[in-house]
Amino acid sequence: MKPDLSVEVGSLRLRGPVLAASGTFGYGTEVPLLERRALAGMVSKGIFLRPREGTPPPRIVETPGGMLNAIGLQGPGVEVLISDYAPKWAAWDFPVLVNINGESANEYGELAARLDGVPGVAGFEINISCPNVEQGGLYFGNDPRAAAAVTEAVRRRTKLPVWVKLTPMVGDIGVIARAVEGAGADALCAINTFVGMSIDLSSYRPRLSFRTGGLSGPAIRPLAVHLAHQAARAVRIPVIGIGGIARAEDALEFLVAGCAAVQVGTATFVNPKAIEEVHDGIAAHLQAKGFGSLADLPRYLPRD
């Protein structure tokens, strides 16, 4: 018998534990080859109220086992998202959450209010952790009061699920996790990229035009597993693990470490079938171990 892979993240029931991470799946219309049955949900590319050009090239550079990116949240703005993409999402058989961004708590709230009730929008992932914007982004993510204020601003404007994507660039992720839990978040996503830098030895300058970028890929996985675990220990709401997942074994590490679900990101750039391979691999693991459902998977989550 096929094991039951469905999971509940707050009020949202997902058909599996593997979602597509924001910024690595566009608006869901671009990725080829993927069998969508394996996709439990998708988080859209980050959006602001207004269109954004993004940063000048070079925007990405490969590093050992990973990549740095500084895209700068290029996007068409919320109105185009509503007119061009949400109607497509409304017809899909998995939920789409919108990754929302702002330069102030008020802007996050306005975005949530604008998107609340739009058919196709199943919830929000608050991005308080983008390292590649001059205003906002990371600033909100490493101060518990600012993180809570943004979460509250969104929470007040919507009854849809509100997830908060955390930055790893903090001293104690548990402090931020508890702050946004207290402000009404339904779930946490841990973690966004690490801030990194790579220097070109022919120009003696940073390789990225933005100077720094967000590090993703297998290189960050052990760091991410630890931080997701720390976040999961700190709160009662579900944690969605993110960071360098390319194979089912990687996802299982996050799940055992206390995550309710996972997001796959950079791996889809390399392997358009990564999400279905992770999903099917989790099923195969459960079956081989004799577990009837994902809920039977042993978790390592001692409470403090």
Binding site: E30, E62, V270
Partner: protein, 233 residues
């Protein structure tokens, strides 16, 4: 310069000049690497490359029969219009040209191919077309100077080479179609890593709207000129 051939029947039958494939290999770098399709015959495609880092060295070390993962054909290729075409290539910019010759001939066009490189040793020996002009920066073969200067005018100019060469082509022929080289992440339009700055403002994606652009549309001053993949390990 090395030519590598792959068994890729679906790509071979559908690829157009200027389109590319995104190739991944094991053991290899994390990200795939984009290559213009050089030739396509029957069930086979070819790409050209230079060993510039650990990644390409790994690719060149493969044995006949080893497998790679080949995603494509990707991007928007050259559009063939008019009665004659001048192809201008610099260095590895020869990559899309044999297919351009094929597609131009199929459209009944007369083909001139201007071949440029830094030195005679770096010139690609592949030459096709009704007329072939050679140009080297050091004058060791053919015209002494840039392929852009050596080229005659034509209804349609297609160019591929280092970005400074394409910038020069844009000055002379704003309507030329040029295939740009950028650092690339996914190759399929989602990562927005291959941003090409445009004069009208903003960026679009070399992998999706490109890699072929109207030369005059690209803001060449904002497009980095030296791009190399840094890491293979």
């Amino acid at each position: 310069m090395v030519v590598l051939g792959f068994y890729a029947p679906e790509i071979a039958t559908s690829v157009r000049a200027g389109q590319f494939v995104n190739i991944g290999w094991t053991p290899g770098p994390l990200l795939r690497r984009p290559f213009s399709v050089y030739r396509a015959e029957d069930e086979r495609i070819e790409v050209v490359l230079k060993a510039v880092g650990v990644g390409t060295e790994q690719l060149l070390a493969m044995e006949i029969g080893d497998r790679v993962s080949c995603l494509g054909p990707l991007g928007r290729g050259f559009a063939m219009t008019g009665s004659g075409v001048v192809l201008v290539s610099g260095g590895l910019g020869v990559a899309p040209m044999p297919l351009a010759v094929r597609d131009a001939r199929a459209a009944g066009m007369e083909v001139t191919w201007v071949h440029g490189a830094r030195t005679a040793a770096e010139l690609c020996a592949e030459a096709d077309g009704d007329r072939v002009i050679w140009a080297t920066d050091d004058g060791s073969q053919g015209f002494h100077g840039s392929a852009v200067v050596a080229a005659p005018d034509a209804d349609l100019v297609l160019a591929c080479g280092p970005n400074p060469m394409l910038a020069a082509a844009a000055e002379r022929w704003p309507d030329a179609q040029v295939a740009v080289e950028t650092y690339m992440g996914c190759g399929t339009g989602v990562c927005l890593g291959c941003a090409v700055p445009l004069h009208r403002g903003g960026y679009d994606r070399a992998c999706t709207e490109g890699p072929v652009y109207r030369a005059g549309d690209v803001d060449w001053s904002a497009l980095p000129s030296h791009l190399h993949y840094a890491v293979g390990a």
